[in-house]
């Protein structure tokens, strides 16, 4: 069995936990719950006809990216970088966080999720943000935990990337000295 560790990264209240619940349990709660520390969940999905068990590390969100504990990211095979489209600031935090991660851990697949697309009319981020970052070679998806839009697609894309990475020669999650 292939097992992969995925971390959910992003600012406070961007919908990381909701995305995981939507993906794992197929449900969505409007009521907001703050994640304290880490919540680990799992789901087995077929990737290229191979069952892959995803260990989903839902890490508490921090508006100050400096405070995010990098220790939880050790050994991760991929991550979802979640942005709340209705709050511009969350994009900045996500970008800063991504910089920090890439400095620490090399070459780990990730997908940028512009979440809460069901509230597109309230978005503060630029409408072409997805295109902007896609142009940089990033995988970007507009998602909604509430409607389920692109949720499975997000995990699927990340899984494919992780598996492709795994099959390459380099070792995943190679840590640098922090």
């Amino acid at each position: 069995m292939i097992t992969q560790k995925i971390c959910m990264l992003g600012s406070f209240s961007v919908g990381k936990t909701s995305l995981v619940r939507r993906f794992v349990e197929r449900i969505f709660f409007d009521k907001y719950h703050t994640t304290i520390g880490v919540k680990v969940d799992k789901k087995t999905v077929p990737v290229n006809n191979t069952p892959v068990e995803l260990a989903l590390w839902d890490i508490y969100g921090e508006d100050d990216y400096q405070k995010v504990k990098m220790m939880y990211l050790r050994g991760m095979h991929g991550y979802l970088l979640v942005v709340d489209g209705t709050r511009r600031q969350t994009l900045d935090v996500a970008l800063a966080l991504n910089d920090k991660v890439t400095q620490t851990i090399r070459d780990v697949p990730f997908v940028l999720l512009l979440n809460k697309c069901d509230l597109a009319d309230q978005w503060e981020i630029e409408p072409d943000t997805d295109k902007t970052y896609a142009a940089k070679g990033w995988q970007v998806l507009r998602t909604s935990a509430k409607t389920g839009e692109n949720v499975d697609e997000a995990f699927s894309q990340l899984s494919l990337a992780m598996l492709a990475k795994m099959n390459s020669t380099s070792s995943p999650g190679e840590s640098r000295s922090t």
Binding site: V38, K42, M166
Partner: protein, 595 residues
Amino acid sequence: MAEQAQRRAPQGQSQQDPPNENDNHAFEELRHLIIAPEQEELADIRERLDDAGRRTQDMSSVVAEAIQLRREQGDDRALSDALAPTIEETLRDSVRKHPHVLADALFPVMGPAIRKSITETLRSMLESFNEALEHSLSWRGIKWRIEAIRTGRSFTEIALLHSLVYRVEQVFLIHRETGLVLNHLTAPSVAAQDPTMVAGLLTAIQQYAQDGFKTQRDETLDNLGWGEFKMWVEIGPHAVIAAVFRGHAPEDYRVHMREVLEGIEQHYAAAFDNFKGDTDPFRGAEERLTPLLEERAREAVEPGKRKPRMLITVSAIILALIVGWGVYLSYRVHQWTQFEQALRQQSGIVVTSVVKEGGRYHVRGFRDPLAPDPKALLTKLGLTPENADFQLAPFYSMDDGILQRRIKVLLKPPPGVTLSMKDGVLVAEGAASPRWIAGLRDRATWVAGVRELDDSKLQDANALALKDAKSSVESIVFLFPFGAATLEPGQDQKVALAQKNIREIVAQAVALNENVQIEVVGHTDNTGVEATNLPLSKQRADHITKALILAGVKPSSFRPRGVGTTRPLRTDDTDEGRQLNRSVTFQVDISPVAP
């Protein structure tokens, strides 16, 4: 009524009263007619209100409905609060004055309640008993108790120290870096949590602890506890082994975990280096991890398995006690039966009834004073005299054994006398003093059970002694040499014997009031002539007489006499015959003293 008033008023005014008075009167009458009924009703109402008896009567008809209505109105405790003190007081009075009324009323519910309470108590007691047995009756329990006394610690503490009973329910092999589960084992019948989530959380906690407390990489969280579960964690360079267990695992289990982890680290070193998320290469680690589960699980003591053994042990002990008690009781019954049989066969005791009441045997009947004490018989058979009550009236038994004893006790036969009973006749045999014989003749028939005395075989002991002494003396032969009147040497003993017997004869004769004459007869053989033999024989008789007188025998009793060859003891044909004829013999004559 108004019409009637109208009709009466004109009539009154016109005939009797002056106009003003008439008006007043009419008005009063009219007033009376109008309000009288209401006044009567008011008076009646006032009377009802003032009259406590009527008020009570009125209330009694609606009080039940009023309470019912109040109760139906909702959850109002006011009614209960108001009634409670009265009801409590009433119950208290009722119990004090007529306890049986409440007891009778409660009887149907008290039985089941008491039974339930007793059942619960017994169940609880049995469980406690089981627990106590488990720790107290085993050799291990005794050792712990001794250790507790020796060290001054409580028994519970010692038991806990030694009872490191545990069961490892899950073993995780976790990739240290990623927190992913590489392998996972679960004990049979254990509802396991999802290993991926548990391993992830454990790793997160590890990482949080390391980061939060700024510890070194080798300073790790090595145990966790929640409820009855504990988790021990051993961390290697690449892998982590976590064991979840219940109870108290010994410290050497951690050593075992460490050894297994080291083995896995060594064996799967390459797999760890190349680990990208594929857990298949670690499938074989199950073989190494299984002993952590299996081996420890075997040592673990499962309560479910232990209880039946305890139950069997306790049941066996109880059964053994019951059987033992039964055997003991039947042995006691057997003992008692034996005793009863022996008592019924005992001479001098007549048993009329044996009743067992209140755990004691009550024996009734008769007992001769000379019969043995039944309590002594009880003790001899190993029974407790306190468990028996004897009510035996005294009586004279005619049993031979008791009769013999009674005769002996009452008649005190001297040695040499035998007393026996035959068909109510007391047969006395042997020799006794005349005094005792006289006493026997007087008292024999006084003894209960002796009808007649047969003393025909009973002899006077004195007469018998005199006769014996006479025979003895008359058998003595003093021998003399040829032609001499002095004794052959070596016959001193004969002289002494003769002296003794003659004294006895004299003494008995005095006692029997008899005269004694002892003729000392001298003999010779036929050698020579009679003219010399006769004097020689007389000299021989004199010689013996003198010797006896010298020894202190009364001289008047002797009559020395020589008979020469006229009364030979043997024929003189042989030397032996002639020797015997050269002798002196005695002839004792006993005759009653002349009155």
